[in-house]
Amino acid sequence: MSRLPSKQVRRLLDGALDGDLDAPSKAHLSDLLRADPVLRESFAAERRLLAALKEAEQPRDLTGPILGRVQQHRGFLSRSARLRVWGWRAGIAASLLMAVGAVMFFERSYPSRSPWTDPSGPVGDVVNTVRADAASGAQALAAAGDALQGRLAGPLASVGSPRPHLSRRPELPLGDTSVYDGRVTFRVAADPHLPSGGIGPRQARAWVRAVGAPGAEDGFVVTTARWQGRPAGLSDPRALRSDWEAGAAVRTHDEASALERSWWLRFWMNAQPAPVQSLER
């Protein structure tokens, strides 16, 4: 093997190993091998080497293990049988889903009949306990939040604010004289019919006054169910007296543009408004 054959000879050798040689090429190669013992030995060694590739060990019989594993995978079922198995599985899954859906629907539609919410039942006890725990947890959290807010509000309030504290409550209770933000739409909470010492019911009245807002003198509009605008003839243009009805909406907006504007308002329910100069800002 020490002497390398020429390319042409190598091609012949490869052809012989591939089994592709025609009769004349075979004869030519035979002549070459007969004439060159080194080449002959080299070619024989190569053939022995390639033949050795076939001499692999044989495995133990794997029939049993293979058939066992195929059986586990249901490999010996026909296609239709396999489809049937899958069909059954899908059907069972769908039935379970439908059952869960039906229980949920029943729970929502008839909560009083539901075994889950029956307080006397064991499941009901568990549900109620969990609900109570959740509610108490939420309350504790809210209390902690309020405490924190209180702690923060004190120091902040002590710093002092140039603006009055604005109430954004959406209701106007009787006798309220708080300052409100005019953007809030109020609901009159007071009963408009007040006892009057045997003379008969008296209509509740309220006065609204804009407080310290720029341009407040230009007028603002208060809208109630029965009336809108600013009554003429009042000595104080920023004050409005109106009759109120319980549940009526009270809204303030700009007289010129009819857009809602921000006024700070003070309301007096069944009480005379204080003089403008004494109003707190």
Binding site: L50, A52, Q58, T63, F76, S78
Partner: protein, 194 residues
């Protein structure tokens, strides 16, 4: 086994006939194992892949394309399984370089003990085979061990016949060189230690 017989057996096995499946296993397990031992160099891995390949094939007989031979399909599945397994257990070093030099590290005592034995020759052949690329090794094994014709190998590996032949010739050349290098190294070690 003729193609008609093979097709009949496949139909029977697909319908759940265990005996038919057994015929296939007995007919092809030896060939497949030999191929995989030569491809992987590891008898344990070869045995595992033989089992996996048969399980996959026999579990999916309804997908068998009758245009092909059962053996071709089986070897295709086995080849994929081998490539996956080889990729997972790939060593960090370059096998071709390290294995080509591996003879040097043999102890003289071991070399002397097994120099003439068949085991030593088998070991050299295994090392030489593993020094080839996967394509060269596979084509060499399919052609010289499994006696597959070039056209079938080309179909199996999805490459032109010319490319298959080219890989075959280069593979033989490298195998010859690797065997020569191993025997030269062994001879050199013998001379130094004798």
């Amino acid at each position: 086994m003729t193609r008609t017989e093979e097709h009949q057996l496949i139909l029977r096995a697909a319908a759940g006939d265990k005996a038919a499946a057994e015929v296939f296993i007995r007919a092809y397990q030896g060939q497949l194992y030999s191929y995989l031992v030569r491809m992987s160099g590891k008898p344990e891995m070869a045995e595992d892949i033989v089992q996996d390949a048969f399980v996959r094939v026999l579990s999916n007989l309804d997908r068998f394309d009758p245009r092909f031979r059962f053996s071709t399909w089986l070897f295709t599945i086995a080849r994929r399984l081998y490539l996956n397994a080889a990729a997972k257990s790939k060593p960090a070093y370059n096998t071709e370089i390290v294995d080509a030099r591996a003879g040097i590290s043999r102890t003289p005592a071991r070399s002397a003990a097994v120099a003439d034995s068949d085991a030593f020759i088998r070991d050299d052949l295994r090392r030489a085979l593993m020094s080839l690329s996967v394509e060269q090794r596979e084509i060499l094994v399919l052609f010289h061990q499994q006696d597959w014709p070039i056209w079938l190998i080309a179909q199996h590996l999805e490459m032109p016949e010319g490319t298959v032949k080219s890989h075959l010739h280069r593979g033989r050349h490298r195998l010859r060189d690797a065997m020569t290098a191993h025997s030269d190294t062994a001879r050199h070690v013998e001379e130094v230690w004798s």
